[in-house]
């Protein structure tokens, strides 16, 4: 345990140990603050608890097959993720134990972990900077409210976190997708390079390049470069991909200023209306149900978009029945995600003498090319980017054809043809009607009101998805693909696991929850630095931005604390 502040409390309490909370803990402890880090999930140890890491197929539980009854009864939501199986189940939330509410005809998927390190263990690690195309979008289009910050405010903090995270990628010089402080890029394979050339020839202005990924290609702070074993989400004891467990938490612990308490669910904040400050953090021990109040001068809410807003919604001043942080009525509104599960794939003929070596934990990226210099009259605003890659189809292809016996067995050794896939991630606009609320009656096993979601996609999302599917097909055609299949699956809120908004950032306390430094308007000693603060969604993966905003907010908070302003 780290040291206690002299008055018996802590300098700061950080709620949540995921990608944002890890950064808050690191920055605040390195600046000399005593920090209590509260995590509702189970304690796990880097390396030790990665039980699926490098596990050979023949040692897999249940003969490698999904225990479907268990998944259906206890993990119906979590098991929809590609990263959920018996090698990772111990990281995930149990849906049966931790229910939430949504309308049956409008499903919302809340994918969440239940361990120290949070979703930083399981994230897909794609790391892209926002640009002013994103920060200015709301203002330019008169949608929702303007961001109070611009790229120049966050750019140095992107650099700051990238240098510690370790992002591999290559420099492209695109204003709409600023370059970062990159380690050397991973490589595109032979077919990806072919497709990239065909796309830029056929569509001037469109580029396809290797993904920017928080996976090391060079050693960094004692973490090893990637050894290309493949399934990062099982955990990496070499720390090759960035997670709280591999990176920020060890840094915070090494200061001697960190106290980490797992199994500690935050119920609400204790708010003093007179001083307009939060005076305590109310917790419930998830094992014993024992309740406690912890005190600190600063509170950083990094419990995830939904988790942080749930805490704020459940926190009232004495005698009030409404959140202290919701004078604006924006709290719980303007929920966003990215559109997901739409795109195209096809067969790329030829190249059959090539068969990539190694399991690269990264794919390609095609950055947004729509509406870059204003409304292009496409019938939708903003845009989308593609992620995907090329590879050879496995033995499933041979299995489908008739034949068995010695020849069949031998033919199974030969990989199928090359495929190329392009999957879109599109920007969802911030709608006031897309909400998370506390359910008036339903409670969880700790007596905390359950979250209830109301989430719908708008016409803008349907239109950009139609366009991204069409353009995906066209680019594959230009690349010479055959048997092109497009897909545009059911749209489910939360499914991209990029949920954002619900405690948005803005200049005016009458229409936003936090200010330009993620400081809650109604409580100057509380900062919300995870996805809840997002005022719009961009179409790029958001985690890098949460990290940069968290480091920036921590810097600001400590300066204000030292100046005696908080």
């Amino acid at each position: 345990m780290g040291k206690l502040a002299r008055d018996g409390g802590y300098d700061a309490i950080v709620v949540g140990s995921g990608i944002s909370g890890g950064w808050a803990a690191k920055e605040l402890t390195e600046k000399g603050l005593s920090v209590l880090l509260l995590e509702r999930g189970k304690p796990i140890t880097h390396g030790i608890d990665y039980i699926g890491e490098h596990q050979p197929p023949w040692e897999r539980a249940n003969m490698g097959l999904r225990p479907r009854d268990l998944y259906d009864s206890e993990y119906p939501i979590q098991s929809t993720s590609y990263a959920f199986d018996e090698t990772t189940r111990h990281f995930w939330n149990n849906d049966a134990e931790n229910p939430y509410d949504f309308r049956e005809d409008k499903p919302f998927h809340w994918l969440r972990t239940d361990v120290v390190g949070g979703r930083s263990l399981l994230w897909a690690r794609q790391s892209y900077r926002w640009s002013d195309l994103d920060f200015e979008a709301n203002q330019r289009e008169g949608i929702a409210i303007d961001w109070p910050i611009r790229y120049r405010d966050i750019a140095p903090w992107y650099s700051y976190v990238e240098r510690f995270v370790g992002v591999s990628g290559d420099v492209q010089g695109l204003p709409e997708l600023p370059d970062g402080e990159f380690q050397k890029p991973m490589e595109m394979n032979v077919v990806e390079k072919h497709v990239a050339k065909k796309i830029s020839n056929a569509f001037p202005g469109r580029k396809m390049f290797i993904g920017r990924v928080a996976t090391l290609t060079e050693p960094l702070h004692g973490r090893a470069p990637c050894h290309y074993c493949g399934p990062c989400h099982r955990g990496c004891s070499g720390g090759s991909y960035f997670s709280s467990l591999s990176s920020t938490l060890p840094a915070a612990e090494s200061t001697g200023n960190l106290s980490l308490m797992a199994n500690s669910l935050v119920e609400s904040l204790e708010y003093d209306a007179a001083s307009q400050k939060v005076t305590g953090v109310r917790t419930i021990d998830t094992k014993t149900k024992e309740k406690n109040v912890y005190r600190s001068r600063l509170v950083f809410l990094c419990a995830s978009t939904i988790g942080s807003t749930q805490i704020l919604l459940n926190s009232f001043a004495d005698g009030e029945d409404r959140s202290f942080a919701n004078d604006s009525d924006a709290l719980g509104r303007y929920m966003m995600d990215h559109t997901y599960k739409a795109g195209a794939r096809g067969i790329i003929p030829g190249f059959e003498e090539y068969y990539p070596y190694g399991y690269r934990p990264n794919g390609i990226y095609i950055p947004r090319f729509r509406n870059l210099s204003g409304d292009e009259g496409l019938g939708f605003s903003r845009g989308y980017g593609y992620q995907g890659g090329a590879g050879r189809i496995g033995w499933g292809e041979r299995l489908k054809k008739p034949g068995f016996g010695a020849d069949f067995k031998r033919e199974l050794r030969i990989p199928g043809p090359w495929y190329m896939s392009l999957g879109g991630f599109g920007e969802i606009l911030p709608y006031a009607e897309n909400t998370m609320r506390l359910h008036p009656k339903k409670q969880d096993r700790f007596g905390i009101p359950q979250v209830t979601f109301k989430f719908e996609f708008g016409e803008n999302e349907r239109r950009h998805r139609k366009d991204l599917v069409e353009q995906g097909v066209k680019m594959l055609e230009a690349a010479g693909a055959s048997q092109i299949q497009s897909y545009n699956d059911e749209m489910i809120g939360g499914a991209a696991i990029h949920e954002m908004g619900t405690a948005r950032m803005g200049r005016d306390p009458r229409e936003s929850v936090v200010n330009e430094y993620n400081q809650v308007h109604a409580a100057e000693n509380v900062f919300v630095t995870d996805g809840a603060c997002m005022t719009s969604a961009s179409c790029v993966n958001p985690s890098l931005t949460y990290m940069a905003l968290t480091a920036r907010a921590a810097d600001y908070a400590v300066k204000r604390l030292q100046a005696g302003d908080i």
């Binding site: 490098h54 050979p56 197929p57 023949w58 897999r60 249940n62 003969m63 490698g64 097959l65 479907r68 991973m186 490589e187 595109m188 394979n189 032979v190 990806e192 390079k193 050894h227 290309y228 074993c229 493949g230 059959e352 003498e353 090539y354 068969y355 990539p356 070596y357 190694g358 399991y359 690269r360 496995g394 033995w395 299995l399 008739p402 034949g403 068995f404 016996g405 010695a406 069949f408 067995k409 031998r410 199974l412 050794r413 030969i414 990989p415």
Partner: protein, 189 residues
């Protein structure tokens, strides 16, 4: 077949190159009893094992049953299939038997190997036609499922995976221009 016999077969088929871990895996290979008595008949189970052996026979590498695919099929049918999946699968096996009696006036288990292969080829041909009859489809879908279970079971067994695939759990690098003839098999990790 007991595990000593399997080991003997393996040392023939793989030369004398049994690594200690393969040997350990082979020694720890314990054919389990049919756990859910009554969920399928002895004959139905026997059909699946015989088909597995025809789907991936012994070549320069071991056969399906030698690497433990029988155990895998037993597990899937007994413990993993839903009731409906099992019912449909077993009806398909019964249909294979019915087709056998129709063609050879003999049950599948009494056919010669050549007859079995001929019948299964016919089932695949009829089943993959444009509009197969309901019964042809039933037999075909169970045989297709058996092919899948055989391949999955083979590729998830240590011996089978090491024999038929290039098991490289720690590649150490990525090479997007690697040439297939340098490995000649599909990767596995």
């Amino acid at each position: 077949m007991n595990r000593r016999e399997i080991l003997k077969l393996l040392s023939i088929s793989l030369g004398a190159s049994l690594t200690p871990s393969i040997e350990a895996a082979a020694l720890s290979f314990k054919p389990k009893a049919n756990k859910l008595e009554g969920s399928w008949t002895h004959d139905q189970r026997e059909i699946t094992h015989i088909c597995a052996e025809l789907i991936m026979p012994q070549t320069e590498t071991p056969s399906a049953l030698q690497v433990g695919v029988g155990d895998f099929i037993d597990f899937v049918v007994n413990s993993w299939f839903t009731k409906e999946e099992r019912k449909k699968f077993l009806r398909g096996l019964d249909e294979i038997n019915r087709l056998s009696r129709k063609k050879y006036e003999n049950v599948f288990l009494s056919l010669s190997e050549a007859e079995r292969i001929e019948l299964l080829n016919q089932i695949e041909a009829n089943g993959s036609e444009n509009r197969p009859s309901r019964k042809d489809k039933l037999a075909y879908s169970s045989f297709l499922k058996l092919k899948e279970l055989t391949v999955v079971g083979y590729y998830t067994s240590e011996i089978g995976l090491r024999a038929e695939r290039a098991y490289v759990p720690m590649p150490g690098k990525y090479d997007g221009f690697f040439r297939f003839d340098q490995v000649g098999k599909q990767w596995a990790s």
